[in-house]
């Protein structure tokens, strides 16, 4: 079993999001970066699969050298090796083109992505990579078992869930319920230092579009407090003032 996990590096979930340079760039000042939580789940599930069935788990990341420390955390969780495609990740389509070009001749049985990254929330890379490679894709899975050349999965659908099977190779995106992410232990942290992290130069990709600017949510007016003894006033306000019920 040869598994590739696409790994994104994102701001810590507690980060206050602000923008600089006339709102054209995300302000990275003082921000701690982490493995995208859904990708952390993907790494752990990939390790569980290879521990049961044999095989290797590789990480691939599109980004610059400052992300190497976060990639090493992925190796500390247990991934066997990592590849960094040396380019700024400008959007999901660019990232997917890079990953597909890297993966196309490597013979991966399963390519994992997170259901989305928690920064740009595109949720695109699973489907884009699959289509570029001509592979089936299953989006937002909450369980996976592999038997021989077939994977059986559960995926979220609108209003419920669905159990389905698919032949390998395939591309899947992980929902957080897939497993409990592992925390690196000291042995993992030590061994991650010597695991291979190979830097690859990017391919040339024609632009699909460009992030022009960003905006913060508008500040809210002060809360209107209602007497807890008279919550019926709230219902009246929701009906007559806010007009939402």
């Amino acid at each position: 079993m040869k598994i590739l996990v696409c790994m994104s590096v994102v701001p810590d979930t507690t980060t206050k999001i602000t923008f600089v340079e006339n709102n054209t760039k995300f302000n990275t000042q003082g921000v701690q970066f982490i493995i995208n939580p859904y990708d952390e789940v993907s790494i752990t599930k990939s390790l569980e699969l290879t521990e049961k069935l044999g095989g290797t788990v590789s990480l691939v990341h599109v980004g610059l050298t400052e992300n190497d420390a976060v990639i090493r955390k992925g190796l500390a969780i247990g991934a066997h090796d990592a590849f960094r495609i040396n380019a700024e990740a400008t959007d999901g389509q660019f990232v997917a083109e890079q990953i597909a070009a890297f993966a196309k001749d490597k013979g991966y049985d399963i390519i994992f992505t997170g259901r989305e990254s928690i920064d740009y929330n595109g949720g695109q890379v699973c489907g884009l990579v699959a289509e570029l490679l001509g592979l089936p894709s299953v989006n937002i899975i909450t369980s996976i078992e592999v038997d021989g050349n077939t994977a059986t999965m559960t995926r979220d659908i609108d209003g419920g869930s669905e159990k389905l099977s698919c032949s390998l190779p395939m591309v899947v995106s992980a929902q957080k319920d897939l497993c409990e992410p592992r925390i690196p232990n000291m042995r993992g942290i030590m061994s991650a230092r010597t695991k291979p992290l190979t830097v690859i130069e990017p391919i040339s990709v024609e632009s699909f579009g460009k992030f022009q600017s960003f905006e913060s949510p508008k500040p809210k007016a002060s809360v209107k407090l209602i007497d807890p003894e008279h919550p019926e006033e709230l219902i009246q306000l929701l009906r007559n003032e806010a007009k939402v019920i």
Partner: protein, 320 residues
């Protein structure tokens, strides 16, 4: 060229998001000086099909399939073929689980620019710029889609419905696709529940409810208001409620008209997933709870005291 929606159906009926997509398509088509059209896959209730004409759709291409079963690859192929048949330039898809699955694959097939999580009409004055949710609700991005063909996944509850009656033409066609790569073994749908991502009203609760045995009041309020129920991450982590109800940065991002949050203090990760709610009500014993800072209405009080009265008031109001 035309602006085309993929009108996804659920057991033969359209959900509100389809009519939002139609409204979006009609307004975008107006900006571009063209028509709004729709692609439908499988059997759809005729009454619902006709409703597309009430939201500015002039032509429907109904693609016949052996079954209504959704398969990502084959449906991506069908929608792409239908879009080409209709000479589309912009494709609008609801950002549902189905939409999230097929939009990227279609974008590659069409060589299109792709934008997901779109929450507003495009600005076409200088290029084609869409506004999309980013940073899990903590920011918005404006993206200029440079390819001639564009695929847009529209977040439900982002666009107000606007009726625009047009004469509707329906064409049927059969397009062959490859056998599906996936085999569906079984489907489990939560009967009678409103999916969180589509809900107009959400009643959410947190650890302040003290235990899963107290959720009856939450469900009762939700039933009275026709709302979906949700919870904070700690609540789903300890198993009081299913993970599918977890809203927040690493759960589901919601955008309802009304979110009533009960016994949730409002950690930054939770607020990220709910801050796009149009109106927020917070009920909490702690007046310093961060959630009050983004709330429109608040009650500082004990949920166990407030909820019975609130449910009674809601029942009286909804029946009047």
């Amino acid at each position: 060229m035309s602006v085309v929606i993929f009108a996804e159906n659920s057991e033969g009926k359209f959900k509100k998001g389809v009519f939002e997509a139609a409204t979006y398509a009609y307004k975008t088509a107006n900006k571009l000086g063209t028509e709004a059209k729709a692609i439908v896959i499988g059997d759809v209730n005729q009454e619902d099909l006709n409703k597309l004409g009430n939201y500015g759709i002039s032509t429907v291409l109904k693609l016949n399939t052996p079954s209504n079963e959704f398969h990502t690859q084959s449906w991506s192929e069908l929608v792409s073929q239908g879009f080409k048949t209709m000479q589309g330039s912009v494709l609008i898809i609801s950002n549902t689980y189905t939409g999230k699955s097929i939009a990227p694959r279609i974008a590659i097939k069409l060589g299109a620019s792709l934008a997901t999580n779109v929450i507003d009409l495009p600005d076409t004055t200088n290029g084609f710029v869409v506004k999309r949710g980013s940073f899990s609700g903590k920011g918005f991005a404006f993206v200029n889609l440079s390819r001639a063909t564009k695929v847009i996944a529209l977040t439900p509850n982002s666009i107000d419905l606007e009726e625009q009656v047009t004469t509707l033409t329906v064409n049927s066609e059969t397009i062959g696709t490859q056998a599906p790569a996936t085999q569906i073994i079984g489907t489990s749908k939560t009967q009678g529940k409103i999916p969180l991502t589509e809900a107009e009203i959400v009643v959410s609760a947190g650890r302040g409810m003290k235990g899963p045995e107290n959720w009856g009041m939450i469900e009762e309020l939700a039933n009275v208001l026709g709302a979906a129920t949700a919870c904070s991450k700690p609540v789903s982590d300890v198993g009081w409620r299913p993970h599918s109800e977890h809203v927040g940065q690493t759960g589901i991002t919601i955008k309802p008209n009304l979110n009533i949050a009960i016994g949730i203090s409002g950690a930054i990760q939770h607020l990220a997933g709910v801050s796009s709610s149009k109106v927020i009500v917070v009920i909490n014993t702690d007046p310093e709870a961060p959630f009050f800072k983004i709330a429109d209405y608040g009650i500082v009080g004990d949920a166990f005291q407030v909820l019975p009265k609130l449910i009674a008031a809601a029942k009286a109001s909804m029946s009047s």
